[in-house]
């Protein structure tokens, strides 16, 4: 029964992919040229006036057909790590640069947000005191920080990392605080009656108890970081997948833009899947 359901969902997912490809194919087919002055299509004189060859009665869209896209993608992905100077680096190199920035910024955010979240969760007074600031800072678009960051940090690379840091900080902080604050009272009573010392309390009870909630925050944080890095690199980058997208748009290479967009999606999915795996390993059934 379940396998039949699986087969059906696989079929539907395949069919919707096919449907999108078909729409793409048909909407990028060469079209008869249309003049805005009612001159019949295929009029040789009109075509010459428009600077086209007299026989070219059709125009091609600048948007690549699926076939053209795949041919280009194969070519680009053939040498993803080539490096011919800052303006001609392989897409793998660019993706790696973005991933590295995210890892550093996000890693720093985790290192700050998890301990701070513990303080918030264990000390309601501190949470209450600092919560207004968190609530104001949290909805700020990471890119809004950019001018301030550029002025104060004065280093494009560090700015990108700062933007990642500041946007992934809040979800991790708030989820950690919530996870720690909602640890079952019973478990806290157990460690109190056993007179467990603080390091052991944190690493053997509080951390495992709050881990699933912390991981939820970390997944949200990583998602936001991956959203922000592309935009940040469009602004400041001389490398990275966001810079690549903008550069290829300036080259009017829409094939490369589509390829990069797809890779951004795939990389984001892989990052989330990795954290989902970690989350499964720390989950517990009550």
């Amino acid at each position: 029964m379940l396998s039949q359901e699986n087969r059906l969902s696989f079929f539907l997912s395949f069919a919707s992919l096919l449907g999108v490809l078909l729409i793409w194919q048909f909407s990028t087919l060469p079209q008869a040229s249309r003049s805005p002055y009612g001159i019949p299509d295929g009029n040789a004189e009109y075509q010459r006036l428009m600077g086209r060859s007299a026989v070219a009665s059709t125009v091609r869209s600048d948007f690549p057909t699926p076939g053209a896209f795949v041919r280009n993608a194969i070519e680009v992905l053939h040498a993803p790590f080539h490096n011919n100077g800052p303006n001609d680096r392989g897409i793998g190199w660019q993706l790696g640069a973005s991933l590295l920035r995210v890892m550093i910024g996000y890693g720093l955010a985790t290192l700050v947000a998890v301990p701070l979240g513990f303080v918030f969760g264990l000390q309601p007074v501190i949470q209450k005191a600092l919560n207004p600031f968190v609530q104001i800072l949290r909805p700020i678009s990471p890119l809004a920080w950019m001018p301030i960051a550029l002025y104060t940090i004065r280093d494009a690379e560090l700015c990108a990392i700062f933007v990642i840091f500041i946007c992934s900080l809040w979800p991790i902080l708030l989820n950690t605080a919530f996870g720690v604050a909602s640890i079952r009272r019973e478990w806290l009573n157990v460690i109190r009656t056993l007179e467990v010392r603080w390091p052991q309390r944190i690493f053997f009870v509080l951390l495992p108890a709050a881990a699933p909630t912390i991981l939820t925050g970390m997944r949200i944080g990583l998602g936001v970081a991956w959203l922000a890095i592309v935009a940040a690199e469009m602004l400041v980058g001389s490398s990275g997948i966001g810079y690549f997208v903008w550069n290829q748009w300036n080259n009017l290479s829409l094939s490369n833009v589509i390829l990069a967009v797809l890779l951004i999606g795939l990389a984001g999915m892989a990052l989330d899947a990795a954290l989902a795996f970690v989350q499964r390993s720390v989950r517990y059934a009550e």
Binding site: E186, V190, Y284, A285
Partner: protein
């Protein structure tokens, strides 16, 4: 057995010299403008004694246990254990919680090991493990010790909870309706095991229950609480049955029905009267 509360002024009396725990006039008030949940509760627990506290819901039974455990502070009164005042939780008092309160990400063995390590901080690893396995075997869980709480039945979980409380070798074991969530068969079996272990280890136990038969079977002394709010300790009844009682033959013992009727009568009728008398 003191049938008449009016003739039992023992609570105000000086405490037994050999008492392990002396509770003096404790009361708990959650709201400063409201009546206290209970007040003026005094009793002793002597070494090796099994004391049960019975009362209706809302009379503050659990609060009394939490205060003894040091998890809550009384609004009035205080407790002395071994000549020292109880001010906070400690390893000299083991607690079996109402819900099993096992750490769900650890196996049964790891749960007990965690408690043993808390008690014996410098004990070598293998000795800690041996000790934990010993206490799990004591409650009959050798076969299931590598399972997590979610994979254990309710009765098995509560046994792990008991093993965890026993393994720290507390001076007093505090149990908060430990069998409340179990079915009658499992409950009976664990009660028998508990009584056996307590007899072997001379364990002092203070247990909360609302089950009269459980109290008669387990307790040497039954403390009866009147109804809340402003509940009082209405009576301190010694169990007249011999310690050799078993669950099967208990009801054939002389005095079983007298004692049982006395307790049931208290819970059904006199617990409310005692409250009225106290508030009048």
């Amino acid at each position: 057995m003191q049938n008449n509360p009016a003739l039992s002024p023992t609570f105000a009396e000086p405490h037994d010299a050999d008492a392990l725990v002396q509770v003096s006039g404790i009361g708990k008030r959650y709201r400063p403008d409201g009546p206290p949940v209970f007040s003026g509760v005094s009793f002793d627990i002597r070494p090796g004694e099994f004391v049960c506290l019975i009362g209706h819901s809302g009379c503050g039974k659990s609060s009394i246990l939490n205060i003894l455990a040091g998890l809550e502070q009384p609004s009035e009164g205080g407790m002395i254990m071994d000549g020292r005042e109880i001010t906070g939780p400690g390893l000299d008092r083991g607690v079996v919680f109402q819900g099993h309160a096992l750490l769900p990400w650890l196996t049964a063995l790891q749960n007990v090991t965690f408690a043993v390590r808390a008690r014996h901080r410098h004990m070598p690893r293998h000795e800690i493990r041996e000790k934990a396995e010993h206490y799990l075997a004591m409650v009959g869980l050798e076969a299931a010790m590598h399972k997590k709480p979610a994979e254990l039945s309710g009765g098995m979980r509560q046994r792990v909870g008991i093993a965890r409380a026993f393994c720290t070798q507390p001076r007093v074991l505090l149990m908060d309706e430990p069998f409340g969530a179990l079915d009658a068969l499992t409950r009976g079996m664990i009660q028998e095991e508990l009584l056996k272990i307590c007899a072997q280890t001379q364990q002092t136990v203070f247990m909360i229950t609302h089950d009269v038969d459980e109290a008669i079977f387990l307790a040497d002394r039954v403390l009866l609480m009147s109804n809340g709010p402003d509940a009082r300790l209405a009576e301190d009844a010694s169990n007249p049955l011999p310690r050799s009682r078993t669950r099967e033959t208990m009801h054939h013992e002389d005095g079983f029905y007298t004692f049982r009727n006395h307790l049931v009568d208290f819970l059904v009728r006199r617990s409310a009267l005692a409250q009225k008398a106290a508030t009048a």
